[in-house]
Amino acid sequence: MTGVRVAGVGLTPFGAHEGRTGRDLFAEAALAALADAGVDGDDVEHLNYGNFMGALAERQGHQAPVMTEAAGLRCAGTRYEEACASAGVAVREAVRAIRSGENDVMLAGGMERMTNLSTAEVTESLAVAADELFEVRAGVTFPGAYALMARAYFDEYGGSREDLAHVAAKNHANAVNNEYAQYQREITVEQALDSPEVASPLHLFDACPITDGASALVLVSEEFAADHDLDAPVAITGTGQGGDRAALQDRADMARTPAATDAAEEAYADAGITSDEVAVAEVHDCFTIAEVMALESLGFFEPGEGVGAARRGDTTRDGDLPVNLSGGLKAKGHPVGATGGSQIAEMTRLLRGDHPNSDAVADATVGLTHNAGGTVASAVVHVLEVAE
């Protein structure tokens, strides 16, 4: 089985791109990734593309051929949809295709346009990721679902809104120097606490923003990298995916995310590492409580301990395990179908040393990315390592 290298990464700035099309955004990210890799588009054998709500936002289904054309590729493409984990799944399947020997060069990533819709329309579109019969019809929105989980967590383990506010403040601080981040500004714990309530107990600053953006990665086999003398020091050494019941009401414990645990255990075993060896992580913090549950599911903290991690400084840039040095979904933004690819792009830059926050993890050789779909009914985890 061949190893897989991240030969190049490309991102659009995350934020509002008024007047631009999704195909234009993805083309920008794809061309940037190919240029970063030093790989010709004609060498790409397949596009693995993530998108969630394009049929609603742009009335464009069947996006893979549209995006393949937009990126200037002359190969086939496949769209992957797993709600907010769409690009994570697209990358995972590209890794599997390269490992199998079927492909040597893949482009993987995703795109989402969201700001062209009203807040109520985005709320409606994102709610589609929940269980239509048993949650959507009962008024459960995306923030509402995480609010149900947050209250269940507080009831079971303790923790407070102030603990969550520290997660928000930490991730905003990390985004200040990230040129791709939607919010390159700090917020205080008090500002987070004082922001308007969206779905109790969560307030506006517990939530990620509505975002447009695209991500792209050029993934190659080790043999291709060597044969073409590519500068590709970062390898994806572990990949894992987990699933759970779609509706929160059907889960044994609404304060836990076992799909992420399953994905992490598979990825750790695949890479031959343990959670103790991870030096830096990008986790799916669509809401502050999501980061807390991710930290516990990934094995970094015991249940009930994750909620205080940011407040204690464990996960800040000078802590033992910096988390979301990109700014996370919270401050960097969350163009749903692009997010999983952007996490791997950011981790690659962090480990290569060319991310604005690389100095916080200068000696790091092992990083982890965690990308969740819906209320973590699906989860994808990747382990990235500096291979040379």
């Binding site: 959507v136 009962a138 309530e197 109790s200």
Partner: protein, 131 residues
């Protein structure tokens, strides 16, 4: 076609199940005692296809809840409204709790299920009322 097997539950859909919540509510129980809700052909816990209807307890306890301030467009219920997940033992059910705000409900509160029609969508709307 053979006659319907009296030991097999009627092929009810979501609407029929929701309508029953106003009177004799039920859930599905598999041969191994796992609870689930229709429409369903297979127990999601163990894969058993031996499903039968069982009486839903008349009341359940609030397991978690949220007062929601931003609703989807066209949902038909104006925010803010309270959504709760209520634990009936073998199954949990999610619905709206009319007439209360986030300060008027707590985990552990006893509620009974009922059903209304969402005038905007025509769909059943599961609601919970004081027990």
């Amino acid at each position: 076609m053979s006659d319907a097997d009296p030991d097999v539950p009627a092929n009810t859909g979501y609407d029929e199940w929701a309508d029953a919540l106003a009177g004799d509510g039920y859930y599905l129980e598999c041969a191994n005692g796992h609870g689930s809700l229709p429409p369903r052909r297979v127990c999601p816990e163990c894969g058993s296809t031996d499903l039968s209807e069982a009486a839903l307890p008349e009341t359940g306890e609030v397991a978690t809840f949220s007062e929601i301030h931003v609703a989807p467009s066209g949902f038909g219920v104006e925010p803010p409204y309270v959504t709760a997940v209520v634990d009936f033992g073998p199954v949990r059910i999610t619905g709206i709790v009319p007439g209360v705000d986030g300060d008027g409900i707590a985990i552990g509160d006893e509620l009974r299920p009922d059903v209304e029609t969402n005038g905007a969508t025509g769909n059943r709307l599961i609601v919970f009322r004081p027990a």
